[in-house]
C-alpha cells in the first residue's frame, strides 16, 4: 500500500519534471540555439586553424562540412519541434553543454562540472541553516507556547511578521557592513581564507566563513518556525493527555519536552523539510552577497557574464532538486500520516 503510494509519487514527480524541462526548452529555444551556433562556430574555427596548409577551396569545403556535421550532431537543422525535443532530452540526460565564459577551477567548461562543484556548498549552507532553524525555532516556539500572550509569544508573532517581507540578502549586506567592516569579526565572504590553512585549521576556517551567512539566514528564518511550532504545540497542549500528565504531577518541563513535543514532532519535521527545499530556491541571492560559491552565487556570476548555458543548467538542476524535495516531502507525509496515502485526491 505504502509502496504503491511512494511509487506513484515518484512517477508523478518525474513526469512533472520532464514536462518542466520541455517547457524550458521551448521557452528559451531561440536564445539557447543562438548560443550553441556561436559556440559551434568558435569550435570549428579553432579546429580549422590546424589545417593552414590546405588551399582555399579545400579549406572552405572542409570547414563547411565540419559546421554541417556539428549542426547535425546538435540537431540544429531539424524542424522546430524536433529541436525543442532534442534539447529537452539532452537536459534530462544532464547534458547541459559547455559554458560560454565561466570555468570550473580545473579549467573544465562543462556546465555539469561547474554545477556539481557548486552544489555541495549550497547543500552544506542550507542544511546547516535548516538544522539550526529547526532546533532554535522549536525551542523558542515551545517556550512561547508555554505562556500564550506572554512576552516571548508576542515577540515571536511580531517578529514573524516583521521578518516576513525582509529580504535576507539585505540583512546580509547589513551583517557584512557591521561584522566584517565596522567590527571586523567575520570574513566578508568566500569559502576559505587565502592562503588556505590545512588540517583542523582548515575546518575551523571553513566554519568561520560559514558563520556569517548562516547567522543571517537563521536570524531571519527562525521566527517563522518558532511561530508554527508555537501554534502546533498550543493545539496539542489542549489535549486530554497533557492534562492527564499534569494531573499525575509530572513536571511541566517534561510535559512540554517529553509528551507534547513528541506528538508535535512529525508536523514540525515535515515543516523543516519543506522549509529546507523552499529556502534553497528562495535564499540563493544570499550566497551571491556573501560570495559563497554555491548555486546561488553561480546565478550572480552567470547573470553578470550573461552565460546562457550556465543559467539554463542551474535552472534545470534547481528544478530537479525542488522536485526531489517535494516528492520526499510527500513520501514523509504519507509515512507519518497514514490517512494521506489512502485518500484519492491530492
Amino acid at each position: 500500500m505504502y509502496r504503491t503510494y511512494v511509487l506513484k509519487r515518484i512517477v508523478y514527480g518525474t513526469l512533472m519534471y520532464i514536462v518542466m524541462v520541455f517547457t524550458y526548452s521551448a521557452l528559451f529555444n531561440s536564445v539557447a540555439e543562438q548560443t550553441m551556433r556561436s559556440q559551434i562556430g568558435e569550435e570549428v574555427a579553432q579546429e580549422m586553424s590546424r589545417y593552414k596548409n590546405l588551399d582555399k577551396d579545400q579549406f572552405q569545403t572542409l570547414m563547411q562540412k565540419r559546421l554541417a556535421d556539428k549542426r547535425q550532431k546538435y540537431h540544429l537543422d531539424d524542424p522546430l519541434g524536433a529541436r525543442i525535443f532534442w534539447r529537452a532530452v539532452n537536459t534530462l540526460g544532464f547534458n547541459y553543454g559547455n559554458a560560454t565564459i565561466i570555468k570550473a577551477p580545473n579549467g573544465d567548461k562543462s556546465v555539469l562540472v561547474i554545477i556539481l562543484e557548486a552544489l555541495p556548498r549550497t547543500i552544506v549552507l542550507f542544511s546547516s541553516e535548516v538544522v539550526l532553524i529547526t532546533v532554535f525555532g522549536v525551542w523558542i516556539g515551545l517556550y512561547a507556547a508555554r505562556k500564550p500572550n506572554g512576552f516571548l509569544d508576542r515577540a515571536t508573532s511580531a517578529l514573524t511578521m516583521i521578518t516576513n517581507g525582509m529580504p535576507s540578502w539585505w540583512l546580509g549586506m547589513l551583517m557584512i557592513m557591521f561584522f566584517s567592516y565596522a567590527v571586523p569579526i567575520f570574513p566578508s565572504g568566500g569559502l576559505h581564507s587565502n592562503p588556505t590553512p590545512t588540517g583542523l585549521a582548515n575546518v575551523a576556517d571553513f566554519l568561520w566563513h560559514l558563520s556569517l551567512p548562516l547567522l543571517t539566514l537563521v536570524i531571519l528564518g527562525v521566527w517563522g518556525t518558532a511561530y508554527l511550532t508555537r501554534n502546533i504545540v498550543l493545539t496539542n497542549l489542549q489535549e486530554d493527555y497533557v492534562m492527564a500528565a499534569r494531573a499525575r504531577g509530572i513536571p511541566e518541563r517534561r510535559v512540554l519536552f517529553g509528551h507534547t513535543l513528541r506528538s508535535a514532532m512529525p508536523a514540525i519535521v515535515t515543516m523543516a523539510v519543506l522549509s529546507l527545499f523552499s529556502s534553497i530556491a528562495g535564499n540563493i541571492i544570499v550566497e551571491g552577497i556573501f560570495g559563497w560559491p554555491g548555486i546561488g552565487n553561480l546565478y550572480f556570476v552567470a547573470v553578470e557574464q550573461n552565460d546562457v548555458p550556465v543559467l539554463m543548467g542551474t535552472l534545470s538542476i534547481e528544478t530537479l532538486v525542488n522536485m526531489l524535495g517535494f516528492v520526499l516531502l510527500d513520501v514523509i507525509y504519507g509515512f507519518l500520516d497514514p490517512r494521506i496515502k489512502v485518500g484519492g485526491k491530492a
Binding site: M16, V19, M20, L27, F28, V31, A158, M161, I162, T163, N164, G165, M166, P167, W169, W170, L171, M173, L174, I176, M177, Y181, A182, S188, A281, G282, I284, I285, G288, I289, Y299, F300, A302, V303, E304, N306, V308, L311, M312, T314, L315, E318, T319, N322, M323, F326, A346
Partner: protein
C-alpha cells in the same frame, strides 16, 4: 446584494478589524505609504528625479557619498561637516550705466556655521545669448574676493554653471596675495582647495590646518546686460558639503531620500497590481475547478501543481536575464506564479459550497453555471481571498527587489531593489555607506510588514475555520 447590505457588512467587518491592533498598525503604515507616494514630488528635494535618475548632469552639483545631514547631531561626530543646500532666494540690484548698459546683481546670503568648509559652491543660472558675468564673495570678516569674470556664450535653454572649486583656484590665490604676500607665496595653485581658503581665517594656518571662519557670506552674481537678447533666469547657488539631506547621497551624487520616496510608488504598483490580478485568477480558477469537476478539475489541478512545483526565483532570474522584460511584463510573469496562492484554499472551500442547498436551489431555478459561479460562489470566497492577497504582497515585492538586485530590473523606473543593486555593485557595503543600504531595504521590510499585518488581521477575521475558535 444591494448597497445597503454591503455597507452594513462592511461596518460589521470594520468593528472587528479595529479590534486587531496589528491590523490597524499595518493599515496606518500602508496609508502613510500611499500618502507619501502621492505627495512624494512635493516633499523630495529633487522633484524631477524620476525622469533624471540615470542622468549624470542632473546630479552633478551634489556631493558624492555624503552621509545624511543629521549625522552632525551625533555626539561622537567631532567636526561638523557642512550641510549641502540649494539657495534660491536672492536680492536683485539693478544698476543702469550711462551708456544704456544694465548691470544686474544677484546677491545670495549664505550662513556658514560648520567646522569643515563646503566641498564646492556652484553658481547656476539659465540664460541665452552673450554676456559678461562676474562672481564675487563677501566674507563675514569684511574681506571680499572676486572669483570669476568671463564672457559666457549660452545657447537657448543652456544652463550656466560656475564651480568655485574647479574654476576659481587662481582667483583665490590672488585674493590671498592681495591681503598677505607671504601667505600666498607658500600656496601651490595645484594643491590648494580654493573653497577651504575662502571659508577660513586668513592666518599662518591657512595651508595646512585652517580655522573655519563662521558667519554670513554673500555670493554675488553680476551680469552685464548689453543687449535685449540676453536673459538670465533662475539664478541659484548650490552649496555642496560633507553631509547632505535626510538620507545622504550615493556615489553617483544622487539623493537617496528622493530615490527611496520615488520607489514607494513602484513597490505599491507592483504589490497591489500583482495581488489583485492573482487573486482574481486564482479565485475564478479555483471555483471553476471545484464546480465543474471532472476533466476541468484534473487539468486545473495539474496546472496548479506544475506552477507550484517550479522554482519561482530561479525561473524569474533566468527569464529576466534572457528576455530583459519591462516592469509590466515582469508583473505578468509574477502573476503566472502567484495565482496558486489563493487557488488551493478557494478550491477546497468551493468544493463545500457547491454542495450547499442555496446552490442547489438556484440550479433548480434554472440559473446558468456562470450565474451560480459569479453571483453565488465567488462573492462568498472573495473576502477571504483578500487576506491571502495581502499576505502574498511581501513575497512579490521581495521577488521584484531580488531580480532588480541582480541588475535585471526595468531601467526606466526607480525601485528599491535597483537602488540596492547600485549600492552593492558600487561598493556601499565595503565602504560602509550605511545610509545608502539601510533606507531602501528598510522600506522593503516596512512595506512587507504593513501588508503582513493587514493580511494576518484579515485572516483572523475572515478565515471561515479560524472564526469558530
Amino acid at each position: 446584494m444591494n448597497t445597503r447590505d454591503s455597507l452594513e457588512r462592511f461596518r460589521e467587518f470594520w468593528t472587528e478589524f479595529v479590534q486587531v491592533k496589528s491590523g490597524l498598525v499595518g493599515l496606518a503604515l500602508l496609508l502613510s505609504f500611499l500618502l507619501l507616494s502621492i505627495i512624494g514630488p512635493l516633499v523630495v528635494p529633487f522633484p524631477d528625479a524620476l525622469s533624471h535618475w540615470h542622468d549624470i548632469n542632473y546630479w552633478q552639483d551634489n556631493p558624492d557619498a555624503a552621509p545624511p545631514a543629521w549625522t552632525n547631531l551625533l555626539p561622537w561626530v567631532g567636526k561638523k561637516g557642512c550641510v549641502s543646500r540649494l539657495i534660491t532666494s536672492y536680492k536683485t540690484e539693478k544698476v543702469e550705466e550711462d551708456n544704456g548698459v544694465v548691470l544686474m546683481k544677484y546677491s545670495f546670503a549664505y550662513d556658514y556655521r560648520w567646522d569643515k568648509a563646503p566641498r564646492d559652491i556652484v553658481v547656476r543660472f539659465q540664460g541665452s545669448g552673450q554676456v559678461p558675468v562676474m562672481i564675487s564673495i563677501a566674507r563675514p570678516d569684511g574681506l571680499s574676493a572676486e572669483l570669476y569674470r568671463e564672457q559666457l556664450d549660452l545657447a537657448e535653454g543652456d544652463v550656466g554653471r560656475v564651480s568655485v572649486a574647479r574654476n576659481c583656484g587662481q582667483q583665490v590665490i590672488e585674493f590671498v596675495r592681495s591681503r598677505n604676500e607671504d601667505l600666498a607665496a607658500n600656496l601651490n595653485p595645484d594643491l590648494i582647495k580654493p573653497i577651504r581658503i575662502l571659508f577660513s581665517k586668513l592666518d599662518a594656518n591657512i595651508e595646512n590646518d585652517p580655522e573655519p571662519l563662521k558667519g554670513t557670506y554673500t555670493v554675488t552674481l553680476s551680469a552685464l546686460i548689453l543687449t535685449d537678447q540676453f536673459r538670465l533666469e533662475k539664478p541659484a547657488i548650490q552649496v555642496s558639503g560633507d553631509v547632505s539631506g535626510l538620507m545622504g547621497t550615493d556615489v553617483s551624487k544622487r539623493d537617496v531620500f528622493t530615490g527611496v520616496v520615488i520607489g514607494i510608488r513602484w513597490a505599491l504598483i507592483i504589490g497591489i497590481l500583482t495581488s489583485i490580478l492573482t487573486v482574481l485568477v486564482g479565485v475564478v480558477l479555483g471555483v471553476v475547478a471545484a464546480y465543474f469537476g471532472g476533466a476541468t478539475d484534473w487539468v486545473l489541478n495539474r496546472l496548479y501543481e506544475f506552477v507550484y512545483l517550479m522554482p519561482v526565483l530561479p525561473f524569474l532570474i533566468v527569464i529576466s536575464a534572457i528576455f530583459k522584460p519591462t516592469i509590466w511584463t515582469l508583473i505578468g510573469i509574477i502573476c503566472v506564479f502567484f495565482w496558486t496562492g489563493p487557488y488551493k484554499p478557494v478550491y477546497s472551500m468551493a468544493l463545500q459550497i457547491r454542495e450547499e442547498t442555496f446552490v442547489e436551489a438556484s440550479r433548480a431555478l434554472g440559473a446558468s453555471r456562470r450565474r451560480i459561479i459569479f453571483r453565488h460562489i465567488v462573492p462568498i470566497l472573495l473576502p477571504y481571498s483578500f487576506a491571502v492577497m495581502a499576505l502574498s504582497i511581501p513575497g512579490v515585492i521581495v521577488y521584484e527587489a531580488s531580480v532588480s538586485l541582480l541588475g535585471l530590473g526595468d531601467s526606466s523606473i526607480v525601485t528599491w531593489g535597483q537602488i540596492l543593486h547600485d549600492a552593492l555593485t558600487q561598493g556601499a557595503v565595503i565602504n560602509n555607506l550605511w545610509w545608502w543600504v539601510i533606507p531602501p531595504g528598510l522600506m522593503i521590510a516596512l512595506m512587507g510588514m504593513s501588508f503582513a499585518f493587514i493580511g494576518t488581521a484579515l485572516d483572523k477575521i475572515l478565515h471561515p475555520k479560524l472564526r469558530t475558535r
